[in-house]
Structure formats: structure tokens, C-alpha cells
């Protein structure tokens, strides 16, 4: 009697496991769409019909977004997203924003967004987990500090080796700090750039490594006596930010087409002029 009950329970458990297993939707996307009409609005495989769901983290930082509100079309990434949506045939009102933490954007499993825009750098290793559109911004990593710190007048990367530098966790800024500067002290790693700025104000660190537009924003708006030390030398391959899409998403090709079109017609360059300061940061040797 007891044995029967136990076996019954075990069978139930396994059947239950099977029952809550999702259907396998073996989609092998990433293929280049043939012709422009493959990317017509009604043919796009979006999460919600008639709307483009775009994810980004909260808080959304300047100069990529404005006033922590991605839907106002201000800030570089917000503007680029609306331009891409327009290319795909979505009106401004049809773009639905969704808060997606940086880390959950690339967790395995089905995504809740069509695309995610969050200053995510494209890399071959990351492509194993998610799809990327083509790059919409070429990134340069920059070192910032405060006036009077020991690296304020550094002219070369070699002069940064003894400093205590910080970066945001999970960013290519940290990778650049680790691999290019090769500091003698363990880098300080922060959850957000705001915390890194706080530590810099407290003189707990000597400098922060961030991408160039953020560096301009931090030194202008967040620090009283902020100073850009300089850009790290480029390492041959240009680092780029791209839209994140679900691995094998059917949209990837179309989004890439839209980004490429915006690049060739000069829209991206104009938006960069409008939102991102591009000059005034020296190159470190």
C-alpha cells in the first residue's frame, strides 16, 4: 500500500515536471531578411502586436537618456531607438518602454522585450548568449578624476598604474581598466556609476574609467572639480554599443538594417552632434 503511494507520488512528480515544461519554439532566426518587405511592420515578429517593446535599465542615465525618462525622445539612445522604430514603421506612440535591469537583459530564457538598449558593448563572447544589432555608437574608454588628485596631470597610461581606479561592474570599462591600465591595486568595482562618483568625491579612489560621453557628463554635472585625464588608446578593434535581442530573434536582421540605414544617411552622426560632446578629451599615450 505504502509502496504504491510512493511510486504514485514519484510518477506524479515527473509528470508534473513534464507538464510545466514549456513548448519548444525552435526558432533559428538571425537570418538576413530578403528584401525590404520582409521587414514590413505587419511581418515583424514582435512580442505585442502593433507595438515595439524596448527595454532599458532604471535609472536611465544622461547623456543616453534625459530626466530618467526614455519615452521623451531626448538623449542619444532614446533618440536612436525612436529613429530605428520609425524605420521599422512604428509611430512614436507605438514604442512601449519597459524597465529591464542590465543583468536580466541577457539572462537565459524568453525575453520580455523586442530589443534592449542599455549601452551594451558588442562582443563575440556575448553573442553566444544574445543577438546584437549592428553598432549604433563607437565607444572610447576614458579616465576621469578630480582636480588635484595624483593622476590629474597624467599624460600616459603608465602614469596610472599606481592609482586606485574604479569602474562599473559588468562594463567594458572595467575590462579596459584591467587589461589596458593593468593597475597595481585591485580595481574598485561599483554597482552603478553614481556610487563610483560618490567614492571619487570621498577620495576613496583616484579615478574612474567610463565611456567618453558619460565622462563628459560626470565631469560637467556630477563632480564639482571633475577633470578628464584622457582617453585610453584604442586597441585595434573598435568597441561598439548595439541593441540586445533574444538569441535567434527574427527581428535581429531588420533592426540591423535599420541601424545601418541610419548610419549611412547621417542620422546617427547628427544625433551624436546633438547629444554627445565629442571633443576636448586628450589621448593618453
Amino acid at each position: 500500500m505504502r509502496t504504491r503511494a510512493v511510486v504514485g507520488l514519484a510518477v506524479l512528480a515527473v509528470v508534473g515536471l513534464g507538464a510545466c515544461a514549456p513548448e519548444d519554439n525552435s526558432s533559428s532566426g538571425s537570418s538576413t531578411p530578403s528584401g525590404a518587405d520582409a521587414c514590413a511592420k505587419d511581418k515583424l515578429a514582435v512580442k505585442t502586436a502593433g507595438a515595439l517593446t524596448v527595454g532599458t535599465d532604471k535609472p536611465a542615465y544622461e547623456p543616453w537618456f534625459s530626466n530618467n525618462d526614455p519615452s521623451n525622445g531626448k538623449g542619444y539612445e532614446s533618440a536612436v531607438t525612436y529613429a530605428v522604430a520609425k524605420k521599422l514603421g512604428f509611430e512614436q506612440a507605438e514604442v512601449k518602454w519597459k524597465t529591464v535591469q542590465f543583468n536580466t537583459a541577457f539572462a537565459p530564457g524568453p525575453k520580455t522585450f523586442d530589443l534592449d538598449v542599455n549601452q551594451v558593448s558588442i562582443s563575440e563572447d556575448r553573442r553566444k548568449a544574445v543577438d546584437f544589432s549592428s553598432g549604433y555608437y563607437d565607444v572610447r574608454q576614458t579616465v576621469i578624476t578630480t582636480a588635484g588628485s595624483k593622476i590629474a596631470n597624467a599624460k600616459s597610461v603608465a602614469e596610472l598604474v599606481d592609482a586606485k581606479l574604479g569602474a562599473q561592474v559588468g562594463t567594458t570599462s572595467y575590462t579596459a581598466l584591467r587589461d589596458q591600465v593593468k593597475p597595481k591595486q585591485t580595481p574598485a568595482v561599483f554597482d552603478t556609476n553614481d556610487l563610483a562618483v560618490q567614492a571619487l568625491k570621498n577620495k576613496q579612489i583616484d579615478g574612474i574609467v567610463v565611456d567618453l560621453p558619460t565622462a563628459f557628463y560626470m565631469t560637467a554635472a556630477q563632480l564639482d572639480n571633475g577633470k578628464i585625464v584622457g582617453q585610453l588608446p584604442s586597441t585595434g578593434t573598435t568597441e561598439q554599443f548595439g541593441f540586445v535581442l533574444e538569441k535567434g530573434s527574427k527581428l535581429t536582421g531588420c533592426v540591423t538594417q535599420a541601424v545601418d540605414a541610419l548610419k549611412s544617411d547621417g542620422t546617427l552622426a547628427n544625433l551624436q552632434k546633438q547629444y554627445l560632446t565629442q571633443s576636448g578629451a586628450p589621448e593618453l599615450s
Partner: protein
């Protein structure tokens, strides 16, 4: 004087008991194996399993990340051990303060009670931010600036309040007759506490104390918000390289590998000191 031999009947009994014991073991092993196999088949046959396996259980990736994560864990261990010593001292002091008798000690009792109330209630993360970013922002000369020190201080303040309550429960669980007997033998209040009450109290609360210690081991990673790199933060950095979560699993395994021997050790020590759990004896 012939050597004693168990009777035929007794030998049969022993053989029968051995047989039953063997049978029990076999059934237990078989049932465990069947259950594990069913679970493995159940999970393994889900459509998403290959994706989950390569994202969370990629042996090669885990091996690659191990040195970095282990280096982070070394920070956890150092923070944990140095904080644990201070926490036991402060916690015990607070508990003794709170159980003092007599009207003269009223302010101490109130202080201990208020301290526990406040620090048990405050979220640890807030205490860490207050000390880790707040104190250095004061720009006082002579105070350390390192994140590890202030993060550790926050852990000590918060955990002392937990541990103080555990010790207090232990002290108050010692039967009043023990104190009465000690005092009637001519021991002073201090001696009674030192030789009669505290040894029994500490022995009784060893398991919950270990709970707090294990919890501290994991919470020691929270000081990573101040910029230092612990095991979990190291795993996060590794994960960001290729969006593979195996390094987190590696960190988890390392934490568990720390915890299990510790648990066995404290159980052993408690038993050596004559603690038999709630039953109070072998029967």
C-alpha cells in the same frame, strides 16, 4: 573454563537482524537512485535544458573562473573571521548588559535594548552605505578610508545585535535553580555567571549561533557595494564577459563547501561538551 558462545537461538537472532539491516540499506539505496534518476530524466527532457546547462553548468567555463572567484572568496573569509571575533565579544557584552539585575544598571539595560532594537531593524545595506560612504565623506583626518574597514564595521554593528539576542535567550534559558544553587554555595554574582550560567547558555545556543555565522559568511559579500571584490562580485565580473552564469554557481559551491564542514565541527564540539539537543540525554 570454556569460552562463552552465544546460543543457537541468539545467533539466529543476530543473523536475522543483520539480514533486516542489509535489506533496509538496499531498499534505501534503490529508492534514492530511482528518485534521482526520475528527477534527472524529468529535468533533462525539458526543451530548455541544453540552454540552461550551458548557461549555468558549463564545466570548462567554471574551471576557468575558479581562480578569480576563489580570490574573491578569500576576501569573504578574511572579513568573516575578523568580524566574527568582534561580533561574539560585542554580542556577549550586550547580552550580559541586558540581563544585569538591580536598579543601578537600568541605563545599561535600556542601552542594550535600544541598540538591539535599532540595529536589528535597520537594513544591513543601509548601515553599510552610511558607514562606507558617509563616514569617509566627513573627510576627518586620521580615520581610515578603506571600504573593507567600514563595511566590516557595519557587519559588526548589525550582527552584534542578532548575536546578543541569541546569547540572551541562552542566558535566560538556564533554570533559576542553577543560579540559586550557585549563590547558596557562596559564589558571587560574577562567579555564578562565569562558571554556572554562561557555559550552559553558550552550549545551548551553539546551533543558532552557527546560523548567524553562516549568514554572516554570505552577507560579508554585501560590502562589495563599496567597491571591493568578493566571490559573488568576482563571479558577476566573469559573467559580464560572455553572459554565462556558471561563475555564480562556482561561487555558490565554494560557499557551501565552507559551510558544511563548519556545521559538522560545531555539532561535534557541542556534543563533546555534553550537549544532546532538546532531549537532554541519550534516552
Amino acid at each position: 573454563m570454556s569460552t562463552w558462545q552465544p546460543s543457537e537461538l541468539q545467533r539466529e537472532r543476530i543473523a536475522y537482524r543483520r539480514g533486516r539491516a542489509r535489506r533496509s540499506t538496499l531498499i534505501a539505496v534503490a529508492s534514492s537512485v530511482v528518485l534521482l534518476a526520475l528527477v534527472a530524466i524529468g529535468i533533462g527532457s525539458t526543451p530548455g535544458w541544453p540552454r540552461v546547462r550551458e548557461t549555468f553548468f558549463d564545466v570548462h567555463r567554471g574551471w576557468e573562473a575558479l581562480p578569480v572567484v576563489a580570490q574573491g572568496l578569500w576576501l569573504n573569509i578574511r572579513v568573516m573571521l575578523s568580524c566574527a571575533v568582534l561580533i561574539v565579544i560585542f554580542g556577549m557584552t550586550l547580552a550580559i548588559m541586558r540581563t544585569l539585575r538591580g536598579p543601578i544598571f537600568f541605563p545599561l539595560r535600556v542601552f542594550a535594548a535600544a541598540y538591539t532594537d535599532i540595529f536589528r531593524g535597520l537594513p544591513l545595506l543601509l548601515v553599510i552605505f552610511l558607514l562606507g560612504f558617509g563616514v569617509p565623506a566627513l573627510q576627518l583626518r586620521g580615520l581610515p578610508n578603506q571600504a573593507v574597514i567600514w563595511g566590516g564595521a557595519a557587519l559588526v554593528l548589525t550582527y552584534s545585535s542578532y548575536v546578543a539576542e541569541v546569547f540572551r535567550a541562552g542566558i535566560e534559558s538556564v533554570h533559576p535553580s542553577q543560579r540559586a544553587a550557585a549563590r547558596s554555595l557562596g559564589l558571587t554574582y560574577r562567579q555564578t555567571l562565569r562558571f554556572v550560567v554562561l557555559p550552559q547558555a553558550v552550549r545551548r545556543v551553539l546551533p543558532p549561533l552557527l546560523n548567524d555565522f553562516v549568514s554572516l559568511q554570505k552577507d560579508s559579500g554585501l560590502i562589495a557595494v563599496l567597491g571591493v571584490i568578493d566571490a559573488i562580485r568576482a563571479a558577476q565580473l566573469e559573467t559580464a564577459e560572455d553572459f554565462n552564469f556558471t561563475p555564480y554557481v562556482v561561487a555558490g559551491l565554494l560557499f557551501v563547501a565552507l559551510t558544511i564542514p563548519l556545521t559538522r565541527l560545531t555539532d561535534y564540539v557541542a556534543r563533546r561538551q555534553g550537549w544532546y539537543g532538546g532531549g537532554g540525554g541519550l534516552v
